[in-house]
């Protein structure tokens, strides 16, 4: 029994060490966002809120924030709708070539973002379209559609088909089946995939970097902030992104998943 107890203590010590490693950069980031001086390195001479004041006064940063939210919300909605419909179609019926279609839809998931971005940039140039937030949104929808599809598809099954058959049997039109039966039944998967894809889009850098120009998303703006001076302002915006993401995740957890009692 004592060796087991010793094992537990060692396990706990190990877990705490890894947690410390995981939290170290975040803690340093947040601490030095309150730095008083111009450089976010020891010694700490804060606390000061001036860098937070500066980011809220920074027009470019704030519009990048709005752009990020917009691109994330809209591209994820597109990805979600495409993924949902495809999942439904492939779950409902055995269509000839279904396996091939599945692989095509899933394919972007297996390719690095850099390559997806590069391919889109090259084709965009060749076809004469200007890079813009629209192209960033398209890029993000490309990477998130397979994600949404995979999540929603994994939740469809025989019961899904039966619900839909029952609804049609009771006289519902296709559109009503979709709206009143299929979507609500899959709502947890749809929501989960939507928010996951919002997170991915929100945090994505390389595609946004390659496919944007003046209107940029937050990660790209942070990147250029980084290139224009080591400065606690970067810490402040990073801390705010961190805090708001964590709040969003916890709110979701409470609102959506806890209520459903999912594990």
């Amino acid at each position: 029994m004592t060796s087991r107890r010793l094992g537990n203590w060692l396990g706990l010590a190990y877990a705490l060490t890894v947690f410390a490693f995981i939290f170290l950069p975040v803690a340093v980031l947040v601490l030095y966002s309150f730095q008083g001086g111009r450089l976010p390195v020891p010694p700490f001479d804060g606390p000061s809120l001036k860098w937070y004041g500066q980011i809220f006064a920074d027009r470019k940063l704030m519009s990048a924030l709005a752009n990020s939210l917009g691109v994330a919300a809209i591209s994820s909605a597109v990805a979600c709708v495409l993924g949902f419909l495809a999942a439904l179609g492939l779950a409902r019926q055995r269509i000839p070539g279904a396996a091939l279609m599945r692989s095509v839809i899933i394919a972007p998931l297996t390719v690095s973002y850099l390559i997806i971005g590069l391919g889109l940039l090259a084709s965009l140039n060749a076809s004469g379209f200007r890079p813009s937030l629209l192209s960033v949104g398209i890029g993000h929808a490309v990477i998130n559609t397979p994600l949404c599809f995979a999540i929603i598809y994994s939740q469809t099954g025989a019961h899904q088909i039966n619900f839909e058959r029952a609804a049609r049997d009771l006289g519902a039109t296709e559109l009503r089946v979709l709206w009143h039966v299929s979507a609500p039944v899959l709502a947890p998967a749809i929501l989960a995939s939507y928010f996951l894809s919002v997170t991915f889009s929100w945090d994505e850098f390389i595609i946004a970097f390659l496919l944007s120009r003046f209107e940029v998303t937050l990660p790209v703006e942070i990147w250029s902030l980084l290139r224009s001076g080591l400065n606690p302002k970067t810490n402040a915006i990073g801390s705010i992104v961190f805090l708001s993401s964590v709040l969003l995740v916890f709110a979701l957890e409470l609102l959506v998943f806890r209520k459903r009692g999912n594990p």
Binding site: G37, R38, L39, V41, D58, R59, K60, S63, A66, N67, L69, G70, V71, A73, I74, A77, L121, N125, G128, R130, P131, A183, P184, A187, P188, I190, L191, Y194, R213, F214, E215, S224, L226, R227, S228, G229, L230, L255, V256
Partner: protein, 351 residues
């Protein structure tokens, strides 16, 4: 239920996003990062009620790549290294400027550079800011006397305490000066020797980085010597880090200068010209000289009256005649030599 909530959230977010992108007249400028300082841009935006869209880049190759990927009419204003103006003129990128509306006579004489800025009597660009790529160092940690000899950058005396600015043209220029080659005369046959010295330098350096990571490295004590540094690194930091210094070595220094021009394909040439005039005005010059990304000398001498004594001291205003006399311009290779230099540089990074 949740779907409906998500729908409301989605609608709210989309509306916020569209509201943020309100439409006004805009001017698109391709610039180095010093032009992105709101303190420089906002007075112009207010006065002309326009929005200036800025895309920053580092290095002419990058800028040309961006132009290459754009469509005609996308760009209005171009800020480009002075030595690369002929390349841009060759490529037909720049529009003629009305020389009589520009304060050419107020510029430091060395910055007029008619061989670069004019062709067949037509002016295509004008210098706006200049400085030096030499050696920055931390006076407390190195012997300032060592810094006056260019060979210190590839020597091993300060091994592991050297950072190199990641832009191939000035650094190759510095190495060439150290080897006694004039920057304007670098040819493919000089490259092997330059390459060897670059590699020696790499072996003794701690990192190679862009503007910011270079500034950061020397400001935080990560390194004590910055190859390619100059007033653009130290001037903005003089009050906080007075121990940072820079020097033009005996062999001379590399001078960089930025020029500004209007794109030939621009559909807003008048507004673009207004922007050029604003940047060249004494107030604009003072703001540009002390902008947040990096400080450096304004090309227009009239900016002096808008700079404080401390700012002029940080920029070493009074030493300029000496520095100008002892410095050479960036190398300006043709396309083939440029490709070779970039290859050497990639090799240098990979080492």
């Amino acid at each position: 239920m949740e779907l409906r909530k998500a729908g409301i959230f989605f609608a709210a977010v989309s509306m916020t996003a569209t509201a943020a992108a309100e439409a006004t007249e805009s001017l698109n400028a391709l610039v180095w990062c010093d032009h992105t300082d709101p303190a420089l841009i906002e007075p112009f935006e207010r006065e002309h009620d326009v929005r200036v869209n800025l895309k920053e880049y580092e290095g002419t190759g990058t800028a040309l790549a961006i132009v290459d990927q754009s469509r005609p009419g996308d760009w209005d204003v171009f800020v480009i290294d002075g030595v690369d103006v002929p390349r841009a003129v060759d490529a037909g990128l720049l529009a003629p400027l009305p020389a009589d509306e520009l304060p050419t006579e107020n510029l430091f004489p060395e910055l007029v550079m008619p061989e670069n800025h004019t062709r067949d009597g037509v002016t295509y660009a004008i210098s706006e800011k200049f400085g030096y790529n030499t050696i920055s160092y931390n006076r407390d940690n190195v012997d300032p006397a060592d810094m006056t000899d260019m060979s210190v950058i590839w020597g091993d005396k300060y091994s592991g305490r050297i950072a190199v600015y990641d832009y191939y043209l000035p650094i190759i220029g510095m190495v060439a000066l150290g080897l006694g080659i004039n920057t304007a005369e670098i040819s493919a046959s000089d490259l092997p020797a330059i390459r060897d010295k670059l590699f020696e330098m790499k072996d003794n350096s701690k990192q190679v980085g862009e503007v910011v990571s270079s500034q950061t490295a020397i400001a935080t004590g990560e390194v004590d010597v910055l190859v390619g540094g100059g007033e653009w690194v130290t001037a903005g930091l003089t009050t906080e880090l007075p121990e940072l210094d820079w020097v033009v070595p005996e062999q001379g220094g590399v001078r960089w200068s930025q020029s500004i021009g209007v794109f030939a394909e621009s559909e807003k040439k008048e507004l673009a010209l207004e922007f050029v005039k604003y940047i060249l005005s004494p107030e604009g010059q003072a703001r540009l000289a002390t902008s947040s990304c990096y400080w450096a000398m304004p090309a227009n001498m009239a900016a002096a009256e808008h700079l404080s004594d401390a700012q002029r001291a940080a920029l070493r205003w009074n030493s300029q005649p000496d520095y100008l006399a002892r410095s050479q311009l960036y190398p300006a290779p043709d396309i083939e030599l440029d490709a070779m230099m970039q290859d050497v540089w990639t090799e240098f990074l990979q080492r």
